[in-house]
């Protein structure tokens, strides 16, 4: 450091005759640092920050690594017990088996059946719940109808009641209307359970949009649905993505509802996975189990990767405006 300062000083001295006459007010000030402040690469601070980040990342990535590595090994190699070692001989056999031929009870068609069940459950539940909740949120935030506050309070309370409390009553209700054990019953349950939190989400987002936009649209003559479809929805892409992610991951990962409200032929992927992994007879096929688990988790992961950027933006936009 002192070396550099010294160098500069001599430099200045060399050009002194020209500059001294013009830089009158500068005389008397000691020459010192100039320009951008130098950054040190290896300070205590950076070591601690990056060290902590690295440890945290490793903590979360290691299990994933073990799963992937194990799923690519054959059973003989797994029995050697080196769970961290990369596979000597890469095989996709466990993945194929997990997808199409692993047995759960009497069915031996793997996870594929559960995958399609989950798709049939998740897509309509997500679409219907978001459609209804967004209109709810819009009505609650922009059209102050009579009893709006009471309705909203009830809805919010609903968001905090544990699912377990409601399972038995819902079983009875579904039985009485003849939907118990069917896919439709489960779709209805998911739609209803998603409603409080989604309505809250949409209401707060819409409340954060400038009220004057809504007023301007009313002066322009747009009605309830006109304002919703032409003004509100186009402005709310981020919150729709957030709601989509919440619903897709929530419904896809659901186990409890799936196992309670459906019959074995309609079991969603998570229940199917549990049945494969927890099957008591025969050899524990760790590689198949690992592959099956990754396959089941793939859909929410994919949703995160594709829309993660929008997810963050949606949450942040809500935070700033709220």
């Amino acid at each position: 450091m002192s070396d550099r300062g010294h160098l500069k000083k001599t430099n200045l001295a060399a050009t002194a005759p020209a500059s001294i006459t013009t830089a009158g007010p500068m005389t008397g000030l000691a020459d010192g640092p100039r320009g951008a402040k130098p950054r040190r690469m290896l300070s205590t601070r950076t070591v601690i920050v990056y060290g902590t980040l690295f440890v945290a990342a490793a903590y979360y990535l290691l299990p994933l690594y073990v799963m992937i590595v194990t799923s690519l090994k054959g059973m003989p190699e797994i029995r050697l017990g080196n769970i961290f070692a990369p596979p000597l001989e890469v095989t996709f056999e466990p993945w194929v088996k997990a997808w199409s031929s692993a047995c759960t009870g009497l069915n031996c068609d793997g996870l594929s059946r559960g995958f399609w069940n989950s798709v049939l459950i998740t897509v309509p539940s997500t679409v219907v719940s978001i459609a209804i909740a967004s209109v709810n949120g819009y009505a609650l935030s922009n059209w102050r109808f009579k009893g709006a506050d009471a309705f909203f309070t009830i809805l919010v309370v609903g968001a905090f009641i544990p699912y377990q409390v409601m399972i038995y009553p819902i079983v009875i209700i579904l039985r009485e209307i003849g939907l118990y054990g069917s896919l439709y019953g489960l779709i209805i349950v998911h739609t209803i359970f998603g409603m409080p939190i989604l309505t809250l989400l949409f209401r707060n987002y819409f409340a954060g949009l400038p009220e004057e936009l809504f007023k301007a649209a009313r002066v322009d003559g747009a009605g309830f649905w006109g304002i919703y479809f032409k003004i509100m929805v186009p402005m709310s892409l981020p919150i729709f993505v957030v709601a989509m992610i919440l619903q897709v991951t929530g419904i896809w990962n659901d186990f409890l509802m799936g196992v309670v409200f459906t019959r074995p032929e309609y079991y969603p992927m998570t229940v199917q996975l549990n049945n494969i992994v927890n099957s008591v007879q025969g050899v524990k096929e760790y590689n198949v189990n690992m592959a099956a688990t990754i396959l089941t988790g793939a859909v929410p992961l994919l949703v995160y990767f594709v829309s993660g950027r929008l997810f963050v933006r949606g949450i942040a936009a809500g935070a700033v405006k709220g």
Binding site: P210, E212, K215, A217, V219, D220, G221, A222, K230, P234
Partner: protein, 363 residues
């Protein structure tokens, strides 16, 4: 002919009454400014006229038609908002034509009206842009355009210039005035800025606590304020208020007496007799105080000391101390006074205001 008429308007939210027994008649082609500080009910009143708030009681007429129960779109109004309220996902052109499309006008008519509005407001080159690509002034122009294309009789402005910086504000102010002069529509304009009110208005309604304090042309509002609130609200710096009482001078003419000062009320014009002993407040605007004026009788002069001098270019603002009172005085910018200077003041009583100390109403 009356363009907008508000009769016995009352608006309550639950137990809270925001506007009560409010009456207001606006002539055709008039530029009326609703002026007041925030929370005085001026924007609320405008929203009631627009139909964006459901009123509790009373009636609203626009162009002789009772529109009390009508939707905003059916009232024949166009509205401009403070935050511009442009639809962010639409281009300027779509923003302008949205209301017309909703009203299912033929495309040729829509194009004609958009083109005309764009010409009047000089936003033709911006038609294909999104609002996010416009400056604040351009956005507000588009917002005015959106009211313009509706081809309505009454324009409502809700603090349209408050979000703009000072330079743009004065530019657009002139443009709004020009627009009014060429269109001759009725305009109701809400603002808290007294300069906007004084420069734009044919008449100003000053509001406080949901009540119209005074409704008059800018000149009357400025020179003959009806009460102390109006007097203090309009003018910058505020009118000087001196508390005192009326006394009878030796010659029997009324004088104003306050702590250490006595002013003759000879030139003050009023219909009421100025009875001695009445507690009053004398109000004098800073520019109506003369400093070291030659040819003023010694009895009419009062000594004061310059406390602070604020040169403002064209004017020079002096803060004076006079027997316990502080007083603002405006002099020509060319006259300079250093702090501590003793000056002699004289008032032009014909331009002063006298208020009753108890009711705060003008005498």
């Amino acid at each position: 002919m009356t363009s907008v008429s508000v009769k016995d308007l009352r608006l309550s939210f639950g137990q809270v009454t925001v506007l009560d027994q409010l009456n207001l008649d606006i002539q055709e082609g008039e530029f009326l400014v609703l002026l007041g500080s925030s929370g005085c009910g001026k924007s609320t009143l405008l929203n009631c006229i627009a139909g964006l708030l459901d009123i509790t009681d009373g009636q609203i007429f626009i162009n002789g038609r009772n529109v009390t129960w009508d939707e905003p779109k059916d009232r024949g109004i166009g509205m401009v908002f403070q935050s511009y309220a442009l639809y962010p996902q639409m281009t300027v052109e779509k923003n302008l034509s949205f209301g017309l499309k909703v009203a299912k006008l033929p495309q040729a008519e829509i194009d004609k009206r958009v083109k005309r509005a764009a010409e009047i407001l000089q936003i033709g080159p911006l038609l294909k842009r999104k609002p996010s690509e416009l400056s604040g002034g351009q956005r507000q122009r588009v917002a005015i355009g959106r009211a313009l294309v509706r081809d309505v009789d009454v324009f409502l402005f809700d603090e349209p210039l408050s979000n703009l910086d000072a330079k743009l504000r004065s530019e657009l102010r002139v443009e709004i005035k020009r627009l009014h002069q060429s269109l001759k529509n009725t305009m109701i304009y809400v603002t808290h800025d007294q300069i906007e009110a004084l420069t734009l208005a044919d008449r100003i309604a000053i509001m406080k606590g949901g009540v119209i304090q005074q409704l008059a042309d800018p000149n009357t509002i400025y020179n003959a304020p009806k009460n102390m609130f109006v007097a203090g609200f309009i003018g910058s710096p505020s009118m000087n208020f001196l508390k005192g009482e009326i006394a009878a001078a030796v010659d029997g003419k009324p004088v104003f007496v306050a702590e250490g000062v006595t002013f003759s009320l000879d030139g003050y014009r009023t219909g009421e007799p100025l009875l001695p002993g009445r507690r009053v407040v004398l109000g004098v605007r800073p520019e109506h105080v003369k400093v070291d004026e030659p040819g003023v009788a010694a009895a009419e002069r009062h000594e004061a000391v310059v406390d602070i001098e604020e040169p403002m270019g064209a004017d020079n603002l002096l803060w004076l101390k006079n027997a316990g009172h502080t007083m603002a005085v405006r002099t020509a910018g060319s006259r300079r006074f250093s702090p501590g200077t003793k000056v002699r003041l004289s008032f032009d009583m014909s331009l002063a205001s006298l208020f009753d100390a108890a009711t705060e109403e003008r005498i």
